[in-house]
């Protein structure tokens, strides 16, 4: 019990609570602005977390991401523009409700079921992470190699978009991770004599560039016109909470379970969870004909799902150090910087920090209800902030944030390079998330691969000799085979 109490005590400090509230407000603002994603909110927050103690830093990131994922629903309901990609799946449904004059019901459902979904995901995290950590203690380089590879492949083959371009993005990320001297041989690679590159590519400026600067460039290209906000009056969003809880509990539970499961899957996060849950809701619904006409059923299932996924994604992140989505990819980097190296030993050496993380998750999801209701009131005002003023200010934050990582302009140069890269990638429909996962997981993948190859003296079959490794290897190969099976099916369907 000692560790649990210490963990809770670590969170219940005024400075931690204040940090969480401030980060929540920041997450709500960024999430509610279309084009700015939850991952971008986290990337912009990271330079500030440098100056915090580990617990408030982690707390800020948890609260910020949870709020951003919920807040993405606000513009999607009011303007048919998803604030974050995780809201895209049910944007049309929410907007249809607004057109029917039921914006408050849709937004009320979004607040309530986002918070409940987050709490469900947290419960699963609390129960499963320590159990999994015990199993993970017995893992060797072979298991880690498969886990890292599985995470990367899930991001590509389960995600939306072309798997081929996803793979290209992944290889780019893996190449970027291999720059520098930090490799099994300790040889400088691809540094071209540049001393700054010896330490590798700092992932924070890279992330800020890929997620934030590329978005600023896109806004600049279009001249950053303001959005048209039509709906202004929002009624009482609390109306109908009781009825929805009773009537739609099966949908809510299904959304929670699906979301958490997809979150736990390495590499797949909240956006995919929302798409899957919306499709599932429609498939199992007794009134599928109502979907798309402003029906709250699908909204409940998918809004529960995306917030549940957020907590689920922390399971592989904490237990194996393998990110469940692009947000935890950034978080893992910060955990290393803070000396909280993720992995099963964290549960042994630092259990109080784990309990503190759990406490923050619970607090953040409970706080979502009052803060979310406040955000609904402020939502329309927020969307009226002129983008022509906002985008340049965001760019200034990007530059200061990238500089603060090492207090050197090298960070800003990196940010600029990656900003242009991210902009060009999106132009060519090459997804960014696999590249980011590649940058984060590249070192683990290489280290576990080279170590395993040296141990096995080049015998590839050794990767299947241990039972857990064999199981993970087979799952990984099945995921790889998935697009082939789909292609064959499609061809058969065409021939038939």
């Amino acid at each position: 019990m000692g560790a649990i109490e210490t963990g809770i005590g670590m969170v219940l400090h005024w400075n931690v609570i204040l940090t969480i509230v401030a980060a929540s407000a920041f997450g709500l603002v960024v999430g509610a602005i279309p084009g700015l994603t939850a991952t971008m909110a986290i990337a912009l927050l990271v330079p500030i977390t440098f100056f915090m103690d580990p617990i408030p830093a982690v707390g800020a990131m948890i609260a910020c991401s949870a709020m951003a994922i919920f807040a993405g629903d606000i513009p999607s309901t009011l303007m048919r523009m998803p604030g974050t990609p995780a809201s895209a799946a049910y944007t049309d449904e929410c907007y249809a409700m607004t057109r029917k004059g039921q914006a408050q019901v849709a937004l009320g459902a979004n607040v309530l079921f986002s918070a409940l979904g987050g709490l469900f995901g947290t419960a699963v995290l609390i129960v499963s992470a320590p159990l999994l950590a015990e199993v993970a203690l017995g893992f060797s380089s072979f298991e880690y190699f498969w886990l890292a590879l599985l995470g990367l492949l899930c991001a590509i083959f389960i995600g939306t978009g072309s798997p081929l371009k996803g793979l290209l993005s992944l290889f780019l990320g893996l190449f970027i991770a291999s720059i520098g001297i930090d490799n099994p041989a300790g040889v400088p690679r691809f540094t071209f004599g540049n001393a700054e590159l010896l330490g590798g590519v700092d992932f924070i400026p890279a992330m800020i560039g890929l997620f934030a600067v590329s978005e600023v460039l896109r806004a600049m290209a279009s001249g950053a016109p303001d959005w048209e906000v039509k709906q202004t009056a929002i009624g009482n969003p609390l109306k109908g909470w009781g009825r929805m809880m009773v009537q739609y509990w099966p949908q809510q539970v299904r959304g929670n379970v699906t979301g958490t499961a997809i979150g736990i899957l390495p590499g797949a996060g909240a956006d995919i969870a929302a798409w899957v849950s919306y499709a599932m809701s429609r498939k199992f619904s007794k009134q599928p004909e109502k979907f798309g006409t402003g029906h709250v059923e699908g909204i409940i299932e998918s809004t529960s799902s995306n917030n549940a996924a957020l907590a689920g994604a922390w399971v592989p992140a904490l237990v194996f150090g393998i990110p469940g989505d692009s947000i935890t990819a950034v978080v893992i980097g910060v955990l290393y910087l803070k000396g909280l190296n993720p992995g099963p030993t964290l549960f042994l050496n630092n259990p109080e920090s784990i309990y503190a993380v759990f406490t923050i998750f619970i607090l953040a999801n409970i706080a979502m209800i009052p803060l979310g209701l406040l955000a609904l009131k402020a939502g329309t005002a927020l969307l009226r902030v002129p983008r022509r003023l906002m985008m340049p200010i965001i760019l200034l934050f990007c530059m200061v944030g990238s500089y603060a990582v090492n207090n050197s302009v090298y960070g800003i140069v990196l940010m600029l390079v990656f900003g242009v890269l991210g902009f060009l990638m999106e132009e060519h429909e090459v997804p960014i998330a696999p590249c980011v996962l590649g940058i984060v997981l590249g070192k683990l993948l290489e280290e576990s691969f080279v170590t395993s190859m040296i141990k096995a003296d080049g015998d590839l079959l050794a990767f299947f000799e241990r039972p857990v490794a064999a199981g993970l290897g087979i799952v990984t190969l099945l995921v790889m085979a998935l697009p082939l099976v789909q292609a064959v099916r499609r061809r058969k369907a065409v021939a038939g």
């Binding site: 190449f175 690679r189 760019l395 200061v400 207090n407 800003i412 080279v450």
Partner: protein
């Protein structure tokens, strides 16, 4: 502005070949068969394979125009993006000499002008933002932002 998948695949193949060529020059770990070159070589092979598949697909289904202009055709879009990149470069070179606040004000003003924000709005917003960011990062978070003539007064 985007190139078609055929040109993209060519670029990927060239990059993969270059990566493989540099990887071959990396020294091995003494006494081991696997060293620094294994991983980048695997990445190069994987990328090359993707490039070939991309090229085959593009050839089969028709690659479309070599370069499509998309947003570049919009009036003023290209100069706006070019100016944004130029202003970031300006910040990188000017900040050490002019100090953070002056450089940030000039950069913000430049961006506001590109977006046609009226000066009576742009000047106060740029000044207040620059000073506020300086206070937040340099005073509260202790980030040694470059100091110039204005910072001495703050």
């Amino acid at each position: 502005m985007r190139v078609n998948d055929l040109i993209l695949s060519l670029l990927v193949l060239i990059a993969a070949a270059a990566l493989a060529a540099v990887s071959f020059t990396l020294p091995p770990i003494p006494g081991q068969r696997f060293g620094a070159a294994v991983f980048p070589l695997t990445v190069a092979c994987g990328a090359a394979l993707c490039g070939v598949i991309l090229a085959v697909r593009a050839l089969r289904s028709g690659a479309g125009p070599a370069v499509s202009l998309s947003w570049v055709q919009e009036k003023g879009a290209l100069p706006r993006v070019a100016m944004t990149l130029a202003l970031i470069v300006f910040y990188i070179f000017a900040a050490p000499a002019l100090g953070f606040v002056a450089t940030a004000i000039l950069t913000l003003l430049g961006l506001f002008l590109v977006l046609r924000v009226p000066l009576p709005v742009g000047i106060p917003v740029a000044a207040v933002t620059a000073v506020a960011v300086y206070f937040a990062f340099a005073n509260l978070l202790r980030v040694p932002l470059p100091r110039g003539f204005i910072e001495g007064w703050l």
